[in-house]
Structures are given as C-alpha cells and as structure tokens.
C-alpha cells in the first residue's frame, strides 16, 4: 500500500502545464548574463501531469492519521478540532492577497485584526501587551528570553542563568541556550510539582528567569505558584510562562495573575489554527509592563482611530522574523476567538479538564498512574505495569494506531518512566473517550495474552514498525563516505 516517490513516477513526456509566453521584446537571460552565473545543468525535478500530481498527493493523504479523522490524544500538543470557518477566513482575498509592504492606509483591516487579537490574548492571559511576530512556540520562548535579557541589561545586570524544571518541554532549555543563557535544572518533588527547596537552592542574583508551564507537563497545577513567583521575584529574576498548556484554564485563571512576567501562547494548540503536519504555527508572546519597551518591532498602535506599525522603539530587541508574523494563522485564531467568545473559551477549558479527568478515571485500573489526581487538561500514565509482559509504552502506542487512534505522547515527560501522556481536549465526546479506554483495555489484554503480536503492531497500516536505528546507521555510512545513498533524499541516476 506504499506510494512511489513523485521522482519515481516521473515521465519525461508527461503533459506539462500550459504557461504564458513573455510577449514582450527583450533579450533572453543567456544573452545577457555571464556563463558563470548561469545554471549548467537543469535540476532533476519530477515531471507529472496534473491528474498524476493529484493522485499522488491523494494517496499520500490517505496514509496520514489526522484530527479530522482520528482521536489524536497527543499530550502537550492540544490537538483539537480546527474549525473549517478559520480556513475560509484566512483565504479571503482581503487577507491572502495583501503584500506586506503595502501602504498602511491600504491594510487598516489587517492591522485592526492584529490589534483586536492582541487585546483578546491580553484578556485571556492577563498581560499588558502581546507581540504576534514569533512563528511558533519555541520561537516565542526565545523572543521572551531575549526581552528578559534586554530588561536585565537595561538595569546594568548581567544575569547568565535560566532555571528550567526537569519536566519541561525540550524547547525550554534549547531556547535558553540559544539566547546565550546557562541552563540550570530544577528538580520535581515526588508529588509531581516543582521542588520549592530545590528551586530556592538554585535561585541567585545570577538567575535571569525561571521557565515554567502551569499546569506542568504532568498535567498538574502548580499549587504553590504564588510562592514560586514570590521567591523568583525576590531575587530580581523574572517568571516565564510556557503556554503549551494554556488550554487548561481559559476563563478560570490567568498566568498574568499568577505572577508570570512573560507568556507565550501557541495559536496552533489553544486557538485551533491547524498544525499542518508540523507547522506553520504561531507563538505570540504577552508581557507585563516592565517588558513592554523591549517588544519586537514593529508593534501595532492605534492613534485617533487609525492603526499604524510602530518601528520607533529604541529599547526593542528588534524583529525576530520577517514582516509581522504568520498573519494567516492570526486570522484563523482571531476567527476562532470571535466565534467562541469569552463564554465559549471558558467552556472549552472546562470541557478539556472534564475530558481529561474522565479518561484518567477510565484508564486508571489499566495503566499505572504515578501521581494523584485531579489533573487539569491532560494526564500522564505509565506503562511500567506491563513491563513483566515485556510491553513498553511504545508497544501501547503502536497498539493504539492499530485500533484507529493516534498515539499519546510517549516517553515524555522524562521524569516518568514509560510515560504515556494523554490530552483528550474538549473536542472529544464521551463515546470517543469510552472507545479509547476500551482500546487501552484491549491492549492490556493483548499484552498478557499475545505480547508477541503487540510487539509487531501496528498491522494493517501503510507500513509496519520502521527500523529507525537502521536509518541512522545508513546515514552515518553515507556521511562517512562508505555509501552513496544519502537516505535523506532521493538521488537521480546520473550515469
């Protein structure tokens, strides 16, 4: 059921698209440009007719699981339904056809949308301003850390460390390192929350910020958040909120009130912009007043009813990408917020928490639950109870694929062995949650009765379990000059 590569299907005389001729009098490129600047051999691209192109990608599409067809309980990723209206909104020519360098008076609607989205996000997370520029969550983290760095520097302080809990998303330490900080890990306590004692021992005048997500990656609310904020602020450091888990409490509480100074949000998680198989997303960052002067340029400002882009911000960290952010994703998120409203967003979070706790209860007797409930919008189970049968979290994941569910996040957070992190979101109905719990029960049964079969799961998909180790080994052979096959690309036969 596999599909050949477009390159393998290529036919040299396939019908090529009809394109206009130049119809002007002008020399050709080869006549004007020196040979050294011209391409000597054309690239080997596939040549397929339009129907062949369409069939190729339709086949590929049929080999994907997606939120539109399957329950996608991927923990920390908030895979909720992406309303179709979002797509229609972003495709309106009044948005999609705008050139980023059009004059301001010709894009007032776009600027108004950005301004209103900023206001809405400020209301949801409880901050003073938001930059919409970062293209993704990790990009937002980095942007926020750069602002925090600039803030400390403006006060003549060279703070070099960033604290990150051991349960944090991998992007946290990576973003901190990329901003030039040293990463110091803070331990979790046995109850799954951050250890206050360990935090206190790591705090010093060298610390620029503590990066935290709340609820944490175990799906647990950091009950001591106000104490944590006080400890952090007392040393002059800032508190950074990783917004991956924002879906847990919209309309219930706000990171800004908890003491967070900077907050990133993933529009592709909480605000239903589609994930696209790995992006594009959008990672706006909200900040409290202290950090406002350092926001990336340009910001959107309203003056006498007219909206403008403000580039004159002397303390700004400068732009973090080209233009003004992933505008098309901003349109989608704003459409969702308008449709949902304050009441709808609140209900979404409550339903997400309800779904997670219900599913947690249903799965409780089947898998290990390393931490006490209730959870917030997600929970982390462990497959270590299946270890005597030789079954790992990976086998459970593959067993779920075979039963037409996407798999939860596995082996994360790192602090739980054989972790299975489940985030059902408000999208899923009770029957779906029940069906998922039944699938887990069936997998546990299979683990006892036919563990060998489970080791070979998934059956019946486009491919079976793939040998990732062999892939890495073959790439090494290529990189070391022992093989001609790059593995990372198809290669034409150029004999």
């Amino acid at each position: 059921m596999t599909e050949p590569l477009s390159f393998e299907k290529s036919r040299p005389n396939a019908y090529a698209p009809r394109l206009p001729d130049a119809d002007v009098t002008a020399p050709a490129a080869e006549e004007l440009l020196p040979r050294e600047l011209l391409r000597s051999r054309p690239p080997t691209l596939p040549r397929l007719s339009e129907p062949e192109v369409m069939r190729h990608y339709s086949k590929l599409a049929s080999m994907n699981y997606s939120i539109s067809e399957q329950f996608y309980p991927l923990g920390s990723c908030t895979m909720k339904y992406n309303p179709v209206a979002n797509e229609v909104a972003a495709a309106l020519p009044g948005f999609s056809a705008l050139h980023p360098y059009q004059e301001e008076e010709s894009v007032q609607g776009a600027l108004e949308l950005m301004w209103r989205l900023e206001q809405a996000l400020c209301a949801v997370v409880g901050v003073d301003r938001v930059t919409l520029q970062p293209a993704a969550g990790a990009h937002g983290e980095w942007t926020a850390l750069r602002m925090i760095q600039a803030f400390h520097r403006s006060r003549g302080e060279a703070r070099t460390e960033v604290l990150v809990p051991d349960s944090a998303h991998g992007t946290n330490p990576a973003s901190a390192a990329l901003s030039g900080f040293q990463v110091v890990e803070v331990a979790s306590a046995p109850n799954g929350r951050i250890s206050l004692a360990d935090l206190e021992s790591k705090l010093s005048s060298k610390v620029a910020a503590l990066m935290l997500t709340n609820p944490n990656t175990l799906g647990l609310f950091e009950r001591d958040i106000l104490d944590i904020a006080e400890l952090v602020h007392n040393t002059g450091a800032m508190l950074y909120y990783d917004g991956a888990n924002l879906n847990a409490f919209m309309g219930v509480c706000r990171p800004g009130d908890m003491g967070f100074d900077a907050v990133h949000m993933n529009l592709h998680k909480t605000f239903t912009t589609p994930h696209g198989g790995g992006g594009p997303g959008a990672g706006p960052v909200g900040v409290k007043a202290d950090l406002v002067p350092f926001l990336p340029t340009p910001t959107v400002e309203r003056m006498n009813g007219h909206l403008k882009l403000d580039f004159k911000r002397p303390q700004s960290i400068g732009r973090v990408r080209s233009f003004y952010g992933n505008f098309g994703m901003l349109v989608r998120a704003y459409t969702y917020i308008v449709a949902m409203g304050g009441d709808g967003l609140t209900q979404a979070s409550l339903d997400a928490v309800l779904s997670a706790n219900y599913l947690r209860k249903r799965v409780e007797g089947l898998l290990d639950m390393p931490h006490e409930g209730p959870c917030m919008h997600e929970f982390v189970a462990s497959a270590r109870n299946l270890a005597p049968d030789g079954i790992k979290a990976l086998d459970v994941a593959k067993g779920l694929l075979e039963r037409d569910f996407y798999a939860p996040t596995i082996y994360f957070p790192l602090v739980v062995p054989e972790a299975i992190m489940v985030e059902p979101t408000e999208t899923e109905s009770k029957p779906t949650l029940d069906a998922f719990a039944a699938a887990i029960a069936d997998i546990v049964r299979e683990a006892k009765e036919e563990p060998e079969n489970l080791h070979r799961a998934p059956h019946g998909l486009a491919v079976g379990r793939l040998d990732e180790v062999a892939t890495a080994r073959r790439i090494n052979a290529y990189l070391q000059g022992q093989s001609e096959d790059p593995i990372l690309r198809w290669k034409p036969d150029r004999n």
Binding site: P20, D21, P43, L45, L60, A138, N266, G279, T335, L401
Partner: protein, 417 residues
C-alpha cells in the same frame, strides 16, 4: 462524567487552583454564530485593499506568481493540514513522504547534498545558517556582503547577539569570519558575483552562505555549482500567497559534512519487517526534544504545510515549467526597465549591474509615483530608501509571469502622465 470521576461539580476538579487566582469571567464578548463571525471577519477583510496580481509590481521578498489550483486542493486536504508533527511514522507516512520529497526537491534545486524539512522563513533561515557556520568554524563573526534583505540582517543580528556572534558588513572576510552571507539576486534584484564571494570566503577558511530565490535557480547557477556550503532562502514564490507576509517557508540545504549541524527536522528512508519502504524522522539527536540545551536549534514546529505547498508547486511545474516562468519574468522585467528608464527623470540606479526580474530605478518623486499608480489600481515599486540612506528616490519594481504585457502598458501609461 462527573459522577464517574467521583466529584459533584467541576469545582471538584479545580481544587488545586488557589481561590485568589480565580477570575469571575473572561472579559471578552460572548461567542457568535458562524455567519455572524464570518460577517465580522469579512468586514475587516473589506477594509484592506487587495491589488490584482497582474497590477502588483512590488516585491522585496514577497512576490505575486501564478499558483496552480492543485496547490490549494492538496494543502486543504484535512489529512494533511490537521495532522501533527509526524511522531508516529506508521500513521504519518503521507506527511513524511511529502517532506522527504521536499528535501529532495530543494537539494536538487540548490545542487547541494541535503536539505531539511523547512524553517519559518527566509530571515530565520539565514540566521540558522549563520549559527551552523559559527559552530562549524568556531569563529564569531559573520560578514554580510552587499544588499541582503534588511529584515533578514536584523533577524540575523538578533540571533547573533544571544550566541555572541558579531554581524559585519563588507566584502573582505578575515580569519575571524565564520561565514560570508550574500543574497542572489540581492534585495534590490541585482546579481552579485556569487562565485567570487564564495572563493573569498573559502580563501580565509570561512563558509559561504547563499540566500537564494528558488525560482531564479531554474536559470541561475545554483549554490552547489559555485561551491557555496549552505543555501538558504524564502520559498513563498513556490505556491504560497502573500498573506501580508506569512506564513511562508524557509529552507536550508548544505554540503554533506555539515548535515549534523542542520537545524530542525530531517526525514530519511527506512523499512519495516516485511521490507516495505517507509519514512521516519531521523538524526533526532541534533534536536531539542532529545538534546535539550545542547541542540543545534530550538526549532520544533516548522512550516510543513507550506513545504507541502512548495512541493506540489514544484512537482506540478517541473523543471521546464519553472524555467519557463523564470524566463518570462526575466524578459518582462527587462522590457519594463527599458521603458521606465526612458521616462524623463527616471534612470536605472545601477545601470552597469545585471538583474533578473526585479530592478532598482531612481525616480523623480517616489511617493508621488506610487500614489499615481495606486489611483490606477497598481501596486508600484518598493521605496528602499526606508532602509538605505544612499538609495534616496530609488524604487524597486518586480515583474513575474502574472504581469502581462497590458499590465506593463498600464503601469508605464500611469507614470507618464
């Protein structure tokens, strides 16, 4: 469901949240029906002026081109756009194979060994490539040669600050230079001597980073041909709408010996127990979710769906189609430049330099020119004085296959009055 959980109300599930943090309500208007929502959104869209493709002559990093209907037909398939990053390969072969094909298409186009699964945009692609060069050479300076897109330079400076990398401008790299970065064609549309800049970089042991326009590579020498080590660029022209600047797609390709320094996702071939070929995320030991603070980059979410659009575009157009539109664009831009340069008071800003399909021209009054054009529904040239003091009165105009000969006439007519 509450009863099954064993609580009386939702409050029973929110016990961990301190009372003092609870808010009475979210201060936003209540929700709306779909048609009310769409009416509100459409009224915002209506407050923007969308210029016709054929009458858009402004570029500067974002261009109007013919987008085959096939592109949106594929990217609007929910199986593609509502999937997550392909962590479970058996259930994500569609995305994985499409991106593997994207990697191959970019590698072929740039004539380099390997390309990654995509980056956010051209600006961050330049910055990521500079990081690769910094780590590879152990040097702390990056030399920007010529007119690199000013927003890319700004992003590069910001990235560099965190890692202690200095960004300099000029054409003379030294033993401290990690990389020479140049754009081909440059921000103004002019061709640079890429082979010479590459040699200069190599002479001092630095890497050469070429920031390229993917359509131009159907005609122009690709970075691999003149020996550049890393190619990066913005892929918007490969089937993506302008969309007020995003989302678009960045790409990066490199020589074999730099593969381990690549940022972001990489997809490779694999096989299952029955010998069927499949595709997996690979070399993940470079990435943040494994290496954490030691990762080559913090990137996680990239721009997969935009990369898919670019793949559909390139597959639909083929090498011949891309070459054809590159040639049409070249000829039309040259015809336009020739006509504009004859207008009284107009002159090419760099008459001795070659260009492809975007060119800088000095005009009597830039703002007046563009206002005149706007009245005729034409989006005129980009005023580059905003970034470059020496380019007072210079507009850059771009032509592609969508600017038909009549549109050229209308433009010339409008500015001649």
């Amino acid at each position: 469901m509450l009863a099954a959980i064993g609580v009386d109300s939702m409050e029973g599930l929110l016990v961990d949240i301190p009372e003092s943090l609870r808010i009475p309500r979210l201060e936003l208007p209540n929700g709306l029906s779909e048609f009310e929502t769409m009416a509100q959104i459409a009224s915002l869209a209506a407050r923007n002026r969308a210029y016709a493709d054929r009458l858009t002559f402004r570029g500067g990093g974002v261009y109007r081109r013919f987008i085959p209907a096939a592109v949106a037909a594929v990217t609007s398939k929910p199986e593609f756009y509502t999937a997550y990053t392909p962590y479970q390969p058996e259930a994500s072969q569609g995305t994985l194979q499409a991106i593997y094909e994207f990697q191959t298409l970019i590698a072929e186009l740039t004539a380099l060994d390997v390309a990654n699964a995509s980056l956010y945009d051209g600006a961050t692609a330049v910055a990521e490539a500079a990081m690769m060069a910094h780590v590879h050479t152990g040097r702390n300076e990056v030399l920007v040669a010529g007119y690199l897109h000013p927003e890319y330079v700004e992003v590069l400076r910001g990235f560099g600050e965190g890692r202690g990398i200095k960004v300099k401008k000029g054409f003379e790299p030294t033993a401290k230079t990690a990389a020479v970065v140049f754009q081909q064609p440059d921000f103004l549309g002019l061709l640079v001597d890429a082979p010479d800049l590459t040699r200069r970089a190599h002479d001092v042991g630095a890497l050469a980073i070429a920031c390229v326009d993917p359509i131009s590579l159907a005609i122009l020498a690709p970075p691999g041909q003149y020996g550049a080590d890393i190619a990066v660029g913005e892929g918007q022209q490969l089937g993506l709408s302008p969309s007020y600047g995003g989302p678009h797609v960045g790409f990066v390709a490199c020589r074999k010996d730099l593969v381990r320094r690549l940022p972001g996702r990489l997809i490779g071939t694999s096989h299952d127990a029955e010998g069927r070929r499949g595709f997996v995320l690979t070399l993940t030991a470079r990435e943040q979710h494994i290496r954490r603070e030691k990762a080559t980059s913090n990137i996680c979410t990239n721009h997969s769906l935009c990369a898919l659009a670019a793949s559909v575009y390139m597959t639909y157009m083929g090498a011949e189609g891309m070459r054809h539109i590159a040639e049409v664009s070249f000829k039309r831009a040259h015809a336009l430049a020739d006509r504009l340069a004859r207008l009284p008071g107009w002159e090419l800003a760099f008459p001795d330099r070659q260009f492809l399909n975007e060119f800088p021209i000095r005009v009597p009054k830039a703002a007046v020119v563009n206002r005149k054009l706007a009245r005729k529904g034409i989006l005129g040239g980009l005023d580059v004085h905003r970034w470059f003091r020496e380019l007072n009165g210079v507009l850059t105009f771009t032509c592609t296959e969508v600017n038909d000969p009549d549109a050229l006439d209308e433009l010339v007519e409008a500015v001649s009055r």
